[in-house]
Subunit: 115 residues, 2 copies
DNA sequence: CGCGTACACAACTAAATGGTTGTGCAACGG
DNA sequence: CCGTTGCACAACCATTTAGTTGTGTACGCG
């Protein structure tokens, strides 16, 4: 693609969440910090592949990394998730309003057609 | 990529949301149903490209389409957004718990080191 | 020191993504 | 009936993505 010049934050977050492996990594991290190898262990996938996934999560700022000796433990960063949750919540509200009206409309039709 | 065999629902939804153009389309639709051309108008992009974006949104079941004469109006479908919101909400809760404990821990350290 | 462990970087690849242009086609309006 | 409108399908292309293998390197340990 000719491509968007600046991939915005929200796109990074949603993009990071749009992969089962990465969501599984986040779920694993929710139960406690972990090293790359610990994260890689449950998956039928190379350590390098997991490393790449972690980098995606880092770019989206969903995880932070520290440098502890030879290990590079991963920890969750919730800030960006709030942005995603915020967007969805905002739009769910609008959706919901519209659907309430739609429900009314349908109810109205039913009332006329199924007396 | 060798690829996930079955791209699950959540991935489709997050994937659909991971694009500014598609989010803009959803925002436009939140203000009322629209035809493809109406949706395409604000963008410096061909009608066909918008058509593709809409198809992505349809696959994620974020929009529904009806066939009204020669027009194919688009309308929002909130069901899947709930799934995404649910996932985030669930994990935000876990994150928050962890951060509360972290805050406690930090507070505890401060208490000892900065009397 | 020399080895193992834990990880990252590089190069390669297949497939998906996001765009283009060109074309077809169904429906309405004169 | 014929042109215009509204949209989808197809072929093509560049870029990104998600994986691979191979290799390098920093750190801790005996």
């Amino acid at each position: 693609m000719v491509g968007s010049v600046t991939t915005d934050e929200l796109s990074l977050v949603f993009g990071a969440l749009a992969d089962p492996t990465r969501r599984a990594i986040l779920e694993r991290l929710a139960r406690g910090d972990a090293t790359v190898n610990q994260l890689a262990e449950p998956f039928a996938m190379s350590q390098q592949a997991i490393s790449k996934h972690i980098k995606v999560l880092e770019k989206a700022r969903l995880v932070r990394r520290t440098r502890a000796a030879q290990a590079r433990p991963c920890a969750l960063d919730a800030v960006r998730l709030d942005a995603a949750a915020g967007w969805i919540a905002e739009h769910r509200r609008i959706w919901a309003d519209r659907y309430d009206r739609l429900d009314e409309h349908i109810a109205h039709l039913r009332e006329r057609n199924e007396p």
